[in-house]
């Protein structure tokens, strides 16, 4: 596979990741969110593999495999089980209505593009144009966390944010050194473990996973 083609594929995958990020913002149903998240993970994994293949960097395959295992199978499955067991409400409530969220999202994408443009000039990598998408995904993940009220959706937002970071790592730099990659993966695993515990704790303490309950600690009278 020649570089040009790989670049095209990466570009397409970047577009798909961005699309899924938007889809996460729009999606109202919680299982739908899980599916979209799994898809995003899959695109991520493929893009890592493609970059790895075209550049010949072996450790990217490991990253790709880790992503596939963690983000496409393990995490969605864990979440699925949790949602099922905790009998979480299936509909997602959001703080800001969806069209507004979409508009903000688009503004963010433009902003990310604008920000990364000087960097893109510098880069000689074939994946250089994807940095904007990575940044946009990070920001959209953050936006999702801000606009959702449920602990599970917040976590999904958080994970999608991490996806954006991972995408930045693979696309902008052809992957971080392996130690770092492994460490990051381990951290995400522990984090997943912890939020699992958390869901149970929150559930047993508050009888719901709606984080509206968790607004007691504040400075306002």
């Amino acid at each position: 596979m020649e570089n040009g083609f790989a670049a095209q594929i990466t570009g397409v995958l970047a577009a798909l990741i961005l699309l899924t990020a938007f889809a996460l913002l729009v999606q109202r149903r919680i299982y739908g969110l899980l599916h979209i998240f799994a898809w995003q993970g899959l695109f991520l994994s493929i893009s890592a593999a493609v970059v790895g293949y075209s550049t010949g960097l072996r450790h990217l395959y490991i990253s790709s495999a880790l992503t596939l295992a963690l983000k496409v199978f393990a995490l969605p499955y864990i979440l699925y089980v949790l949602i099922h067991r905790l009998k979480i409400q299936k509909e997602v409530e959001e703080v800001v209505n969806i069209p507004t969220t979409m508009l903000i999202g688009i503004a963010l994408v433009i902003f990310s593009y604008h920000l990364t443009s000087p960097v893109r000039e510098l880069s000689t990598l074939m994946t250089r144009s994807t940095l904007a998408v990575a940044l946009a995904t990070v920001m959209l993940g953050l936006l999702m966390m801000i606009t959702r009220r449920n602990a599970v959706t917040q976590i999904i937002g958080f994970l999608s944010l991490e996806n954006g970071l991972f995408f930045a790592a693979t696309s902008a730099t052809y992957g971080m050194p392996l130690v770092v990659e492994l460490g990051v993966a381990l951290d995400i695993l522990i984090a997943a473990f912890i939020f699992g515990i958390f869901f149970f704790q929150i559930r047993t303490t508050f009888d719901s996973l709606d984080i509206k309950e968790m607004e007691k600690l504040k400075e306002e009278d």
């Binding site: 920000l115 920001m139 953050l142 966390m145 801000i146 968790m214 607004e215 306002e220």
Partner: protein, 704 residues
């Protein structure tokens, strides 16, 4: 980076006669060490309070005697000694320096500490020996510890020769006195007072620190720590604007501690609630240590050379003097009154310093040194008579368990010796010859009157006005202390309950006697005193007073020239004594008898002690006259069926400090308002928090 870990003892050898006598700086350091060791050792005697008091305060007395002698010598010789201690930051060890100026303040401090330490032995026994109920039995361990730390802090401030050590000593002094103020900690009033005190002291300390920052930055730069030493600051030339900044920062910093209006609000709160021996020290010397700071920074480090700075000091001093004494007049709490009077006296000291700065800026060294000497004289005097008055007030409180003057009276019959000493204090503070207060005030007036026309018209207007206000202050303070002595010691006992009031113990009377004697001696022999402090004006403003002052021998004080002004306290004293003696003897000749009879009651036969003029009524005319300066609320409410013939009248008088309500409360309210606003930022909703972080990110990305 020179003094890494080693001490450099560059003490000037003292002129010992054969035996090795420690140099003044070493002696003062020894005294500081004794205080610190006493403070550290005091908790060991926790379980034996009586011996704790005896040992700790005897040690303080001994240490202060050592310091007083050393300070005296340092001033007398005018030599400069320095020392470097191997502690502190490695590149900034503690620098110590004893010159005439610091020696003077060491002496004043140590002398009063000596008196007060002796006094404390008697005074504090009241705390432990007292039957529970009135004051309650309480441990005085913390008092002894912080008392020693407090004194050590004051001495260290005066010795410090670099910004860091200065600040440490300064705050040690503040913190120790804070704990002394809050000694009766179950008392809410004491906690509040201590809080205000500490807060204002800390604000002041930070201002001083910033001023040092300016000076250090411009003298040594911040490439290393050398700029922090006073010698570097002294040697540097600081450009105009920065000099003004440094001056005003430090001035207001020190003013906060000295109790200059409008930064005085802590003082009338803190002094009354502190144990009296502590109030005596706080008023008598701690305020002076703040003045020392002003003198050190403005004359020595900054070489103030702009008359406007002196003008500000002068005006602040005048305002403090007048406001202080007016508030003092309105008080019914004896210690609060004395506290306000301290504000007044600090004001007068500032007037002296301000004049000295003004004269110095026009290069009139003789007059500058005259005003400076007047200021230093007043510092000494105030330490003595205010210490004496506080000790007297403590003795009164000790016997009567009252602070409110409205419930005292006639104590001269029950505490005759205390009354005599207190009277001496009152006479001194009222600036009456032949006592000491008069001498300093006289010198100040001389400085005012001899001031030639300045090139600036504004000053020519301020100076006469200043003289007028100082005169007004002096007259008001006489009035104030007539009231104090009259209400507390004369007349008849106004108290509700008939307590047995007795004369206080020997230690307390002895201490007061010493202080009273000092007041008289300072009043009678000003020439010696001025000769002693001769080195200070020479050091600070480059002029001297002593030559002309003692031109006609020790009997006559002629600050400038005999034909300009002269004053001889001994002759005045002797003259009055002679006339009194003669009159006493001559009027005996007709051999008329003496008998006692009831007072003239104007035909109304049911006179009770409550009908006496009391403090409030005594001050009434002035409340009418100067009421607009104070915030006075006076209500008379008759009760009973017929308002024309009321059964009883309820009289309520509330005098509040305008400055407290005008300047401090709004600040406090604003702080709480802002705090509430900031509190609203923290909603408790995690989305909002995420939004903050998101917004921060975006903002930074946009602008960075």
């Amino acid at each position: 980076m020179g003094f890494r870990g080693t001490a450099i003892w560059s003490a000037v050898p003292f002129q010992g006669r054969g035996v090795v006598i420690p140099s003044p700086l070493e002696s003062v350091s020894l005294s500081v060490v004794i205080f610190l060791v006493t403070a550290a050792a005091a908790p060991l005697l926790k379980s034996r309070q009586a011996s704790l008091i005896n040992i700790a305060f005897s040690a303080s007395a001994i240490a202060s005697v050592i310091a007083a002698f050393a300070g005296f010598n340092a001033v007398a010789t005018g030599a400069v000694e320095t020392m470097v201690l191997p502690v502190g930051l490695p590149d900034l060890p503690f620098y110590l320096r004893l010159d005439a100026t610091s020696g003077f303040f060491v002496t004043v401090t140590a002398v009063l500490v000596f008196f007060v330490s002796i006094y404390s032995i008697g005074y504090l026994k009241g705390f432990i020996g007292h039957p529970a109920g009135l004051a309650g039995q309480r441990k005085v361990t913390s008092l002894a510890v912080f008392y020693c730390l407090f004194v050590a802090g004051m001495l260290m401030v005066v010795l410090a020769d670099d910004a860091y050590f200065f600040m440490i000593s300064w705050e040690l002094m503040a913190a120790a006195s804070y704990f002394l103020v809050v000694f009766e900690d179950e008392n809410k009033e004491a906690r509040r007072a201590a809080f205000i005190y500490l807060l204002i002291a800390h604000v002041g300390a930070i201002l001083i620190l910033l001023s040092f920052g300016v000076m250090a930055g411009l003298s040594g730069g911040f490439e290393n720590f050398n700029g922090y030493t006073f010698s570097a600051m002294r040697a540097s030339h600081i450009p105009g604007v920065w000099k003004a900044a440094a001056f005003f920062l430090s001035f207001f910093g020190f003013a906060a501690k000295a109790g200059v209006v409008p930064l005085h609000v802590w003082l009338p709160e803190a002094h009354p609630v502190a144990p009296t021996n502590v109030s005596a020290l706080m008023s008598g010397v701690m305020l002076k240590v703040a003045v020392y700071g002003m003198v050190r920074v403005s004359f020595d480090l900054l070489h103030v050379s702009d008359w406007r700075m002196g003008g500000v000091v002068l005006v602040m001093g005048l305002v403090s003097a007048v406001m202080g004494i007016l508030y003092a007049l309105m008080q019914v709490d004896l210690k609060r009154l004395l506290a306000y009077s301290s504000i007044e006296n600090v004001g007068i000291i500032l007037v002296c310093l301000g004049l000295a700065m003004i004269f110095k800026s026009f290069d009139m060294t003789a007059l500058a040194s005259l005003s400076l000497v007047a200021g230093l004289y007043h510092i000494t005097n105030h330490a003595m008579f205010k210490g004496l008055l506080f000790m007297g007030a403590g003795a009164v409180m000790h016997s009567t368990h009252e602070r409110n003057m409205e419930r005292m009276g006639g104590l001269i019959h029950r505490m005759p010796q205390t009354a005599v000493f207190f009277l001496v204090g009152c006479l001194s503070i009222s600036a009456l010859p032949p006592f000491n207060g008069f001498v300093s005030e006289w010198l100040l007036f001389q400085a005012f009157l001899l001031s030639p026309s300045f090139p600036t018209p504004l000053l020519n207007l301020i100076i006469p006005l200043g003289a007028a206000l100082v005169a007004l202050t002096a007259a008001l303070s006489a009035r104030c202390f007539v009231k104090v002595f009259g209400v507390v010691f004369l007349g008849r006992w106004r108290g509700q309950h008939d307590t047995t009031v007795n004369e206080t113990g020997l230690e307390m009377r002895g201490a007061m006697g010493f202080a009273a004697f000092a007041c008289l001696a300072l009043g009678l022999l000003p020439v010696f005193f001025i000769g002693w402090i001769d080195a200070i004006p020479r050091e600070l403003v480059g002029g001297r007073v002593s030559e002309t002052a003692s031109e006609f021998g020790w009997l006559w004080l002629t600050p400038v020239a005999a034909e300009r002004a002269s004053y001889s306290a001994p002759v005045v004293f002797a003259g009055i004594l002679a006339v009194v003696a003669a009159a006493y003897l001559l009027t005996r000749i007709p051999r008329a008898g003496v008998r006692r009879a009831p007072v003239w009651d104007c035909g109304f036969e049911k006179i009770t002690p409550r009908m006496q003029y009391n403090s409030t009524s005594f001050a009434m005319p002035l409340r009418r006259i100067f009421g607009f300066l104070l915030s006075v609320r006076e209500t008379v409410r008759p009760s009973g069926a017929d308002p024309a013939f009321p059964k009883r009248l309820t009289y309520r008088l509330k005098i509040r400090d305008r400055i407290w309500h005008g300047c401090y409360m709004p600040v406090a309210d604003a702080s709480f308002w802002i705090a509430r606003r900031f509190g609203r930022l923290q909603h408790g909703r995690i989305q909002i928090y995420l939004l903050y972080s998101f917004a921060t990110l975006i903002l930074l990305l946009v602008f960075a």
